[in-house]
């Protein structure tokens, strides 16, 4: 499992970026395998951006399809292929907002639908009881923090982990402010938990 620590500063010119740029170039020339690799790398990000606006699965599927078709349609005008993740995130955000605008519900993203669906999920049976309790408390706290923090934290648990550029594009937020916002949202999340949430309760002896 991937370590959950968040160490990724915006990456510029890393091997991964070079690889992504190469995949974009190959896909642009019609290479299906390269395209499939791009889809594998970013399909979770695009889907999560759509879902983070509270879209149901049918609308989120439409947003995802529109985003990928848009990339194929705009191949010729992609100027920074190494930043294709941010481009996809921006496009998915715009398509999601268009769907919401169309349905006249922009002002009220339907977060509760997602929360209701997930709230019923049973913890993994094999999970240690203590861990399950902490997870349940974190989950209850998540419902109490602002929607924008919920959206950011959802993006932080996407696999593979999006870059700061991609997060910024998803949230329409300057890259420079993501670190501080992330810290503030995690602080709010921790603060929204019951004060007796003690990860390692000690026995008095």
């Amino acid at each position: 499992m991937r370590p959950f620590g968040w160490s990724a500063e915006p990456v510029g010119g890393s091997v991964t970026d070079v690889e992504v740029a190469g995949l974009v170039a190959a896909a642009r020339a019609g290479d299906q395998a390269a395209w499939d690799a791009l889809v594998s790398r970013f399909v979770g990000l695009v889907w999560t951006v759509a879902r983070s606006f509270g879209l149901g699965s049918a609308d989120a599927a439409d947003v995802s399809q529109a985003t990928w078709l848009r990339l194929v349609e705009r191949f010729a005008s992609i100027r920074e292929p190494d930043r294709i993740g941010a481009w996809l995130a921006t496009t998915a955000r715009r398509e999601a907002l268009a769907v919401l605008r169309r349905a006249g519900r922009y002002a009220v993203p339907r977060e509760p639908e997602v929360l209701d669906r997930l709230a019923g999920a049973a913890p993994d049976a094999a999970e240690p009881v203590l861990r399950a309790e902490i997870n349940a408390e974190v989950w209850r706290a998540f419902a109490r923090i602002p929607g924008r923090c919920q959206r950011l934290l959802k993006l932080l648990v996407v696999e593979p982990i999006p870059s700061y550029q991609e997060i910024g594009a998803s949230m329409d937020m300057p890259v420079g402010s993501i670190g501080a916002t992330r810290a503030r949202c995690l602080e709010r999340l921790g603060g929204a938990m019951p004060s007796d949430a003690e990860p390692h309760p000690r026995r008095t002896q």
Binding site: D36, A61, V63, S64, P123, F142, D196
Partner: protein, 148 residues
């Protein structure tokens, strides 16, 4: 005495609940998108959309909507209307010209003629994303943007 969980514990807990697998049909549709690659075509940009300013309508609700696409050579105006579970398109090329108009939708395409006045229509389409490809003799095709 208590300590709030550290960031890693918080994020790990969220991952347990929020990690949502992308539905297989969504992944399949994303992979399929490359088949619509058309590097030789000119792209007609959406420059006006009656729905952008009007009441809720569009392919998922009742009503109709007019889209205007432009390239340097041609303007394409299309009215999209929903009737039951079908999508109807009726459009006009300007300047007027005879052409073939292909309506692309995920899963397939349909070709209809545009007459000497540049008028074309296609009925009974699926309610799904669409774009038009305008084909005139040996010229490069003109593709509109995809419409959701």
């Amino acid at each position: 005495m208590s300590h709030p969980p550290d960031d890693a514990t918080l994020l790990d807990a969220l991952r347990v609940r929020l990690a949502e697998p992308v539905p297989p049909d969504v992944i399949a549709a994303a992979r399929e998108a490359l088949r619509w690659r058309d590097p030789d075509a000119a792209l007609a940009i959406l420059v006006a959309d009656t729905m952008a300013a009007a009441t809720p309508a569009g392919i998922r609700g009742p009503g109709s909507e007019v889209f205007t696409f432009e390239t340097e050579r041609v303007t394409i105006e299309v009215e999209a209307s929903q009737l039951g579970h079908e999508l109807h398109l009726a459009g006009q090329l300007a300047p007027a010209m005879a052409a073939r108009v292909r309506i692309d939708q995920p899963g397939g395409g349909t070709v209809v003629p545009a007459d000497e006045l540049g008028r074309f229509a296609a009925r009974g389409l699926r309610l799904a994303m669409w774009r038009l490809a305008v084909l005139v003799d040996d010229d490069v095709p003109i593709n509109t943007e995809w419409v959701l």
